[in-house]
Symmetry: C2
DNA sequence: GTCTATATACCGATAGAC
DNA sequence: GTCTATCGGTATATAGAC
């Protein structure tokens, strides 16, 4: 998928809360007591939407099930038909978010061979994903520390997997003589840090009216220069205007 | 302060928990009911040490005052002689950490004139500070969202102040023709993101045996290349060995 | 499937003995 | 200055009516 921008990205991949909830229902029929798919998906959407918003506002820990009750419009008893407890809800959301990110990242890269293009695509896909699923990314990052032993291990594994994608691209580019650096893992680590800043410091970029396309172009130029590779059409530093909300409502 | 490394940094600046607690006692004699300085500083040190460790382990919200009681060795009633409530403790710690960082950053930069050196010093000082006060930095970052309206405003102000230091250095370098970029605030923002990665993803760098000197050298080289400025003695990419623990126990 | 009502436990905070 | 004992409030979770 070349010459990708935010709009074509959101059109190509169905990243909606409803779709995620349907995936959850189909893969977790044991822990969810409700039988009818339509009812289950509708209520799951209400629950996850409320839980995401409350978690971003005040933190998952500070969110009480009474908050979740009133925000979702469902009752206490009804909530417990969809998950076995507050902790199970946390794990459910973390798990589903991780898998979606992993799948999309592999999907966008699968038909590309040129390292410079791969790097640009991986950066853009990660930024676009976190733009589309901003609350989800913010939530996943902030609540990692509250996970239990086994779940924390999976979160770390996921972090390293994303990084490994960048390490592979960098090493390939180094071998082909288009990237210049000494330690691929260090470069991948700070690329990841810069990607994460986009959703962790969203308030800052929003206040400065910097959109996702502009940030993407800047990041690609900056890393390109640092790696000794200069993307031809981006060196001017001019970026597209802000249309960060072109892809519909954020989830 | 030129040719700064971690060891000389920690020797030059007294960044100990005891010193911070003494500052707190002297500046807050109204909210602390204890009169004798020796007693007060001793117990404050116990309290803050326990609070920092518990917050990093499970989060400030999840930490109960009973946890704090057993970890510090003091009783419930005694704790309340040192702060008026859990929220006041949070604000106290945030406030004191912010001020120390602000003061040290201004101190290290005050006698330097060359932009390239300024950039290197600012990067090193921030990394060394966060290395020395790792728990403090991690705590400050993670608990920002739990602050009240007014305190959150101060935290944001502090974030932007640190960034402004980098913006000034970058603009000066651009004017003098040694740095090349289009938007100083974007560059400063991602430099900050890379600095923060050092204390937010500490587990990763520790596992890979990357010390603070090595990370500092890498960051300076990477940003130097991206800005079109090549530090002469760092281009080889070779870095000092890991002596991240040379400066005593972390706080 | 969804609701209300309630059980049980633990939180932050304080009063008052020592 | 420091302790123990306890209050009032609220959390998660469940039982059983509809």
């Amino acid at each position: 998928m070349h010459k990708m921008d935010f709009q074509t990205f959101t059109k190509r991949y169905d990243i909606s809360l409803e779709r995620i909830c349907r995936d959850i229902f189909r893969s977790r029929d044991k822990t969810i007591r409700i039988k009818k798919e339509e009812t289950a998906v509708k209520n799951l959407t209400l629950i996850l939407d409320a839980a995401l918003n409350l978690s971003v506002e005040k933190g998952f820990d500070a969110m009480t099930l009474r908050d979740l009750q009133s925000r979702s419009g469902l009752s206490m008893g009804c909530l417990y038909s969809y998950f076995s407890g507050k902790e199970a809800l946390l794990h459910l959301m973390q798990y589903q978010g991780r898998n979606l990110v992993r799948d999309v990242l592999h999907e966008v890269l699968k038909d590309e061979a040129i390292p410079q293009n791969k790097l640009e695509i991986a950066i853009r896909a990660h930024l676009y994903l976190s733009e589309r699923m901003h609350k989800w990314f913010y939530f996943s990052y902030m609540e990692t520390k509250n996970l239990g032993r086994e779940e924390a291990r999976k979160a770390i594994e996921s972090e390293l997997l994303t990084e490994a994608i960048f390490v592979d691209i960098l090493d390939e580019g180094k071998q082909k003589g288009v990237f210049f650096f000494t330690d691929a893992r260090l470069v991948a680590a700070i690329i990841k840090a810069m990607l994460q800043d986009w959703y962790l410091k969203r308030w800052k970029y929003k206040k400065r009216q910097i959109g996702v396309e502009e940030y993407a172009a800047f990041l690609i130029t900056f890393t390109g220069k640092a790696l000794g590779h200069f993307p031809s059409d981006l060196m001017s530093g001019t970026a597209s205007p802000n249309h960060s909300s072109a892809g519909g409502e954020q989830i």
